[in-house]
């Protein structure tokens, strides 16, 4: 049983880490035009913001299972295969990008508008303001949100596991629940609980350090 747990843990960690990394990257990138075009942004653009806003909401409203199945052709294109941990990273990342963009947008909106105004007042460009003022000032809050993202992806990865992604979720369901191995199921759940705790504590620690 412990052998199964260890390899499932490895798969879960892989899926969560890789998809957290790419969705954080994608989410931060998508948050830039949102914050620029937003109503209180540096270059307010109601039309562009409406498009981004609706797209983000649209993607977020998909149930993850459906999105994952709908993305199978795309996953095959990107990852070469449609199942397994590597393949699961693709739908995980795509599902999490709009969610992350929303979280990062929130973090950036928390930056004191006065600080942004001061930077504008001495002639900083929009790119300077976003990358040298807003992101650094919002960093603690972004880090905390990335912890939230990682926990969310941990949950999603369990679903991905059910359709061949492997990992702790799949172990708990396929081995534990279906085959009536309560110890495997509880073991997997216990490990998941520990991981969530670690991610959240790590996020909180970094938040305190960075502030």
């Amino acid at each position: 049983m412990s052998g199964m747990l260890v390899s499932a843990l490895g798969e879960t960690m892989f899926m969560v880490l890789v998809s957290t990394f790419f969705s954080a990257l994608g989410g931060c990138t998508l948050a830039v035009p949102m914050i620029l075009a937003g109503p209180a942004g540096l270059r307010p653009n109601a039309k562009l913001y409406a498009v981004l806003d609706i797209s983000v909401n649209l993607l977020r409203s998909f149930p993850f299972m459906i999105l994952m199945i709908a993305l199978i052709p795309f996953t095959r294109l990107v990852a070469g295969v449609a199942y397994g941990s590597t393949a699961a990273v693709v739908p995980l990342t795509i599902a999490a990008i709009p969610f992350t963009a929303r979280l990062v947008e929130g973090s950036l909106l928390e930056v004191d508008p006065g600080v942004v105004e001061a930077a504008r007042a001495f002639g900083a460009s929009d790119a300077r303001i976003i990358f040298s003022v807003m992101f650094p000032e919002a960093l603690p809050s972004v880090v905390l949100n990335i912890a939230v993202l990682a926990v969310t992806l941990l949950g999603y990865s369990a679903m991905a596991g059910a359709v061949g992604g492997g990992g702790l979720g799949a172990l708990a369901y396929n081995e534990g629940y279906i085959r009536f191995k309560a110890d495997v199921m509880l073991g997997a759940v216990a490990v998941l609980i520990v991981i969530v705790q670690c991610i959240q504590s790590g996020g909180n620690y970094l938040y305190g350090k960075l502030r």
Partner: protein, 329 residues
């Protein structure tokens, strides 16, 4: 330095600045005074293009602000420093990094940046706080960092937006002294937006009184205050309990008279008795000026008025009915 002609600004259909015209001369400290919501800060932001305007003209250092493109506007902003009520410093950077930031934005060489920041910290008395985090500083120190940052690029104009409103009275004075010192030392033109009369009296040579987006008065601070200009008086009015009988006279002391003991001299010379109702001596810029309100019994009124006229003292008979009504009513 700054010339404003018939400036109009609308904000979502509402006119917030009405037909303003005035100019700010090179090297002066110009005050924009008014209650909150009068449009002072909006007006100030028209000078460096942080706010747009719909009508009239704002020319800063010869350039019409609304016609500048992105690059020209950045150059203009480089030459205009700005400080703020809430300091607007970057909380995650230390003192040095905050002051150095404008220099980094303008890609000054590292050695030059370090030298300039050291100079600025010296000027603002922050050398020992160089690597301190912003959150560990007092309000006065934060504003000094703000001033150092605003001066980093050697601006020609400094805009001060309620720069002392978040500070206690004592710290306010030290910041005002610093601003005055900078003004004198670098001949830096300053535009000071404030609702604090002490600030205006202490450092502004001239002022514009703004109310609901309209310019009510414009002139030399000393003149407007001393002669109790009508609009400014409504704004600053202190209430003195005026005596119901006799006549209340407000006597102003311009700079050449302030030092002489005119009042006691008058009492001796005319041999009259009067009651001192209230008064104040204040520092306007570097001069001590003031006023005194006296209550003269009716029988000596003519004598006193003649004496004041002969000695060229500025006086005003106060409309006591209104005051009495307010006080006793």
């Amino acid at each position: 330095m700054i010339t404003v002609r018939n400036l109009e600004k609308q904000y979502s259909g509402r006119t917030v600045l009405h037909d303003l015209s005035f100019s700010v001369d090179a090297g002066e400290i110009f005050g924009i005074v008014g209650r909150s919501g009068a449009g002072k800060s909006t007006l100030l932001r028209c000078f460096n293009g942080l706010e747009s305007y719909q009508g009239g003209s704002v020319r800063v250092m010869g350039k019409e602000v609304s016609t500048l493109d992105g690059k020209e506007l950045k150059t203009l902003r480089r030459d205009i420093g700005m400080i703020f009520q809430n300091f607007n410093l970057m909380g995650r950077r230390n003192v040095f990094e905050n002051v150095a930031f404008p220099l980094q934005v303008w890609r000054r060489p590292k050695a030059e940046t370090e030298e300039r920041v050291a100079e600025l910290l010296e000027l603002t008395g922050l050398t020992d706080k160089r690597f301190e985090r912003i959150q560990n500083l007092s309000g006065g120190q934060k504003q000094r960092v703000g001033i150092a940052r605003a001066l980093a690029l050697n601006p020609k104009i400094l805009l001060c937006d309620e720069a002392t409103s978040a500070l206690d009275p004592e710290t306010t004075l030290t910041i005002l002294d610093l601003l005055q010192d900078i003004n004198a030392r670098f001949n830096l033109t300053m535009v000071v937006v404030t609702h604090q009369m002490e600030v205006v009296k202490r450092i502004c040579g001239r002022l514009l009184l703004l109310d609901k987006g309209r310019g009510l008065s414009l002139g030399r601070t000393e003149d407007l205050f001393l002669f109790s200009e009508k609009n400014l008086k409504n704004f600053t009015e202190e209430d003195y309990a005026l005596l119901p009988s006799g006549t209340n006279i407000r006597i102003m002391f311009p700079r050449d008279i302030a030092r002489q003991a005119v009042i006691t001299a008058m009492a001796r010379e005319l041999d009259v008795d009067f009651v001192i109702v209230g008064g104040r001596l204040e520092r306007y810029l570097d001069k001590v000026l003031g006023f005194l309100i006296i209550n003269v019994p009716d029988e000596s009124l003519e004598k006193v008025l003649r004496y004041l006229r002969e000695h060229n003292l500025h006086r005003e008979i106060l409309d006591d009915e209104r005051h009495v009504g307010e006080r006793t009513g």
